[in-house]
Amino acid sequence: MMELYELGVREIVEGIREKRFSALEVFDECLGRALACEGKVSALITATADTGRAHARQIDGYVAKGEPLGPLAGVPVILKDNICTHGIRTTAGSRILGRWAPPYSATVWDLLSSAGAVLLGKSNMDEFAMGNTCGTSAFGPTANPWDVSRVPGGSSGGSAASVAAGYVPFALGSDTGGSIRQPASYCGIFGLKPTYGLVSRYGLIAYGSSLDQIGPFTRSVEDMELIMHVLARHDPKDSTSVDKSEIDFTRRESKGEKPLKGKRVALVKEFQDFTLDPPIADAIKRLIRIFEEMGAEIAQVSLPTVARYAVACYYAIAASEAHTNLARFDGVRYGYTVTTAAGLRDMFEEVRSKGFGAEVKSRIIAGTCLTEPVRSEEYYVAATRVRTLIAEEFRKAFENVDCILQPVTPSLPGKIGESDEDAMKGYESDLYTLPVNMAGLPGFSFCTGYSDSGLPVGLQLVGPRWSDKNLLNMGFELEKVLGAPKIARGGN
């Protein structure tokens, strides 16, 4: 007998509709699971037990009266804490937001809640999404539910850990340079970074606005399709949102014995020179065989500019945009503030120096430095030009192939507290994820299995813009072969 918290999105929706269990029962079981793991995992900044239970009861009321139910009615969800939720504390993992409860909700939360999803909590994250371990959070680190001495990845580590440990069947994260795909990989679940513009960013506390994209974590591809069906909506409140209503995530063509026949899956030539942890290198070899068995053709693409310049280009652009996005935190209008400052400048400096953590301050300084009038052309503007070369290189690559198969990270999750002396070395480990954001592409991270040490081993598929559904369709076929991700022990 499966526990309710082990169920996926579709199973919960059907069970509630068929009155096999109530939304409140599901919520309480999930909450119970979360509380059982939280001591070791610390995936949540805020648990929304009361509002969530009230919402679940409301759903049960609709069921009892036979009123129409939304496509996600009664499904518990966790949102990364940089997604604004009206009346519910939203911190972005920072001290500087204090106890800020937004007076409005992000579009994605509006969409999910009107589809009937029930909020269970807000998840831990690297401060302002700057980090890949969840270790820069002002609320302390989150642990990997597969091995609580290890990091869950970041920045959406809390969301990934909570789905992996069975708190909820799905969660939302945001991905600026890998912040969905990398923790999904570390936690052994599915993570999708949609094409830039497919999901509204309105209400997402911005890090690098031209790179940020919200996406889901799930334990099955089918669940991910259900979530994307709700989220992929044009939003007039986000001027970079694109109307792609023609993409129907819920429809899938029936496949024969060779479901990927005619598909061309590429490996990146330049990436083959880089060292990978053996389980990851093995996974790639295994996946190549699986793809071939499913009828796909394995090809090669060359991305020399990506391989050499993407990391520098990414950090230059992300820092430049971030320092402007974070300029608004000054203690005047909302969030953390001080009342003792002698003058305005003192107040701004005190609020920001005490409110921001070290990594955020470093990146603000980097962004300020690169965009100084004397350096802007040389660094910031140059980075935007390099970005054109990167996007162009991908565009050409996808003229001949359907998707790229590549690692998410070069290594399996490290120990909590370990960090590189030189931050740039840590940044280099993002090479496989961040080029995707540079070009606004979709990236789909999936679990291929587990290493001998019991850690999940993930890989990702990257496709051309708007190929999100194709990636999920391939993911669906892969899931049949690889098996669905398991629920982690969560320190128990």
């Binding site: 520098a312 820092a319 969030g335 009342t339 003058g343 040389e378 140059a382 030009r385």
Partner: protein, 96 residues
Amino acid sequence: MKLGSDDVRAIAAEARLSLTDTELAGAVRYINNFLDMVDRFKELDLKNVEPFCFAETNVCPLREDLPAAFTRSEEILADRADGTGAFFKVPRIMEE
């Protein structure tokens, strides 16, 4: 060209950050490493390359000029540290 402590302190001040000596030492190291990283751009000939700023949307959508009040402005006001009156309070401005 490497940046020194004074340069970095000035950049931090521009961003309204004051750093402790330890933070400053770390920031100097960080920013110089960062500049080393982005100095790679100089290997490329970028003269005829357009800047990339927008992934897909290349036409700004326009909204009709229809006023609609935000109904929860009270909640915005409630976030003030000093919630008296209708204004947001700030300390003395010494810059000008």
